[in-house]
Symmetry: C2
Subunit: 341 residues, 2 copies
C-alpha cells in the first residue's frame, strides 16, 4: 500500500504550518476583513463610503534574491520584499492596499523556514496596511532542490474611480518628487549575485565595501514599502503620476507614466544612492546596464505640480522618510528619449 | 563589462512574450475592465448595482501535474487547471469570479512554452468569465532546471454580503447535489505520478487502461471550472454550502462547510468515478489514502434544501453538465465522523 507521505508530501507538516501562521495572519487584520483563516477563500468588504470603487491588483515574485536568503539561511525578510513588489505597483494607481495572498512552493516543507518566510509576509502586510487573507503552501517533490523555495505574491487595493492616478495630467513644468530606495529592492539579482558574489568568489559574510554591512546584509536589505508615504502625499497634493522603479530601471519605469510629448529630465546629482550601486559599477557593470536594470537609489517617482513640491517634501520629512526633488518634466522633441538621466 | 543577458536573464524574450500574450489577454475582457496591459497594475470596476460588495479571493498552484505537462511537452492546458483551482475556491462563497492574475516562473524563458501556458490561463479565464488582468513572468537562472516551470494563480470575485454562502443554514434533511470531476483535477499528483507512471515504469504514451486514453491524456485532463454551473444553481435555488473537493478529498473538504452537529452521509454508488480512480486503487493505493487524497469523481459538492434538489439537477441537465444526488445531511452524534462515505 502506497501513502501520500511516501510519495513525498507531508500533510501533517502543512497542518502544523497552518497553526503556526495563524497568529501572524491575525496580526495583519483590518476592519474590512470578514471571516477567518481556514475557509476556502478570503473575504474582505470595501471601505465605507466609496462611490465608484475600482479594484487595482498586482502580482510579483522576489526573483533570485531568494537564492541569497536560502544560502544565508535568513528567511525572515524576503516576505517583506514580496509584499513590497506587488503593493508598490498597486500604489501607483493611487489605490489603498486592501489585501494580499502569497504562494510558497518548495520541494519538501520545512515548517521552520516556511514560518519565517510567512512572518516576513505578515510584516510586509502590516507595513502596507493590508490584510493577509490567504495563501498556498505547495510541496512539490522533485521540482525544487532541498532548501530551495519560490514565492509569489498578489495584492489588491481599491481607489475611487475619480481619483485614479494615471499620468494623463502630467505637463511640462511639473516636477519629480522621488522616494529613496533602501538598496537593490528585488530586481537585478541575477546580475548582482554574479558580479558581487559568484564571480569574485566572496562569502556572504564578507563586508562588501567600507561603510556597508556584509554582502548578505546588503543583498538582503528589504524592499521599501511606500504605502504610508503615498498616503501622506495624497493628503498633501494632487499626485499626477507614480512610477515604481523595478526591472527596466528609472528610464523604463518612469517612461510608462509619461503622456506623449512629455519627457522627464533628472539630475542624478540630486540624490545619494546606497553604496551597493557604486560597488556594482566598480565590479564592471556598464553604465547603460546599471541604468536599465537597477533603481539607482530611487524607489518610487511621484510627479506633481511644481507648486506642490515643497509641501510634498515637507510631508515626507514629517514622516521621517525624506524624499528628494529629482528633476522636472519638459516638452519632448521627436528625437528625444522620454527620460534623461 | 557584464550585461544582464550574460547573467542569464533575457529582457527581449520577456518583451516578445508580452506582445504574444496581448491578444490572449484581450480575449478575456469583461465589461468591468478598465485600462490595458502594460501599466503597473490591473484595474477592474465592480459590477453595477451592488449594495455591500464583498471581495472573495483565492490562490493556488497546479502542483506536480506540471511535471507531467513538462515531460509530455503539452503546455496548453495547465493554465486551465491553474484558473480552476483558484476560481472554484472563490465560487464556494457564492462569489462571481471577476479577475485573475498569474505568476509563471522558469529558469530560462522559452517564449513558445510560456505562450502556450498563458493561452491555457486565458482559456480558463474565459471558461470562468473572469478577466486576466495581470501576470508576472519570472526568469530565475539556477532556480529551475531547463524545461521546468512553476505556476501560481490568484482569483478575485465579488458577492453581495447578504448572499454569501457559508454553510450556516445547513440542516439535517438537506441534500448534497454534486458535480462530477473530470479526473484527478490538480491534487494528489505526487502520489498519482509515483504509482501510475514512475513505479510501473510506464511511458506517458501508454494507454492506462481499457477505455481510457494515454497516461498523458488521463493525467493532463484539465480541471473542471464550475462557474457556469454555480451561476445556474444560484438562479435556481438558495445554495446553503459549496465545497470544492481538493487535497483532503471529499471528507476533508465537505467537513469544512458543515455546521457543528451536522454530518454528511454519502452513497458512493450514486456516481460513477472516472477510470483513473480504479487504476489508482489497482496500483496499490489504500482505500483510506484514496478517500483522503483524491476527489473520487466529485469536483464540487453543493448543499441545498431537499425540496430544491430536483430543480438543481434539472438546471445542470439543461446546461449539459449533469450532476448527481450524492447523499444527505443528518444529525451528527458525538462519536460520528462529519462525513461518511
Amino acid at each position: 500500500m502506497v501513502t501520500y507521505k511516501e510519495a513525498g508530501v507531508d500533510i501533517e507538516a502543512g497542518d502544523a504550518l497552518v497553526e503556526r501562521i495563524r497568529p501572524l495572519v491575525a496580526s495583519t487584520s483590518i476592519p474590512e476583513l470578514l471571516g477567518d483563516v481556514g475557509g476556502f477563500s478570503g473575504l474582505v468588504r470595501l471601505p465605507e463610503g466609496m462611490r465608484d470603487p475600482v479594484l487595482v491588483s498586482g502580482t510579483d515574485g522576489v526573483g533570485t534574491k531568494l537564492k541569497v536568503a536560502q544560502v544565508a539561511g535568513r528567511h525572515d525578510t524576503v516576505g517583506i520584499d514580496l509584499v513590497a513588489m506587488a503593493v508598490n505597483d498597486v500604489l501607483t494607481s493611487g489605490a489603498r492596499p486592501l489585501f494580499f495572498l502569497d504562494y510558497f512552493a518548495c520541494g519538501r516543507l520545512d515548517v521552520d523556514v516556511a514560518e519565517k518566510v510567512i512572518s516576513g509576509v505578515a510584516d510586509g502586510c502590516r507595513r502596507a496596511g493590508c490584510a493577509l487573507v490567504g495563501g498556498e503552501t505547495a510541496e512539490m517533490p522533485g521540482m525544487y532542490e532541498p532548501g530551495e523555495y519560490d514565492l509569489a505574491g498578489f495584492a489588491v487595493g481599491v481607489v475611487e474611480r475619480s481619483r485614479i492616478i494615471d499620468g494623463r495630467n502630467v505637463r511640462p513644468g511639473d516636477v519629480v518628487v522621488a522616494l529613496p530606495s533602501s538598496g537593490l529592492h528585488s530586481n537585478g539579482y541575477s546580475l548582482a549575485r554574479k558580479v558581487l558574489w559568484e564571480d569574485p568568489g566572496r562569502s556572504l559574510d564578507d563586508v562588501l565595501a567600507a561603510g556597508t554591512g556584509t554582502l548578505a546584509d546588503v543583498l538582503l536589505e528589504p524592499t521599501r514599502i511606500y504605502a504610508s508615504e503615498v498616503a501622506a502625499l495624497q493628503r498633501t497634493a494632487r499626485l499626477k503620476a507614480i512610477a515604481h522603479i523595478t526591472g527596466g530601471g528609472i528610464p523604463g519605469n518612469l517612461a510608462r507614466v509619461l503622456p506623449a510629448g512629455a519627457a522627464a529630465v533628472l539630475d542624478a546629482s540630486s540624490w545619494e544612492p546606497p553604496a551597493v550601486f557604486a560597488a556594482l559599477a566598480d565590479a564592471g557593470v556598464a553604465r547603460e546596464e546599471m541604468v536599465g536594470t537597477f533603481n539607482l537609489g530611487m524607489g518610487l517617482a511621484v510627479i506633481v505640480d511644481e507648486a506642490d513640491a515643497h509641501a510634498c517634501l515637507d510631508a515626507l520629512e514629517r514622516l521621517g522618510t525624506p524624499g528628494f526633488l529629482a528633476g522636472r518634466i519638459t516638452e519632448r522633441g521627436d528625437e528625444e528619449p522620454a527620460v534623461r538621466l
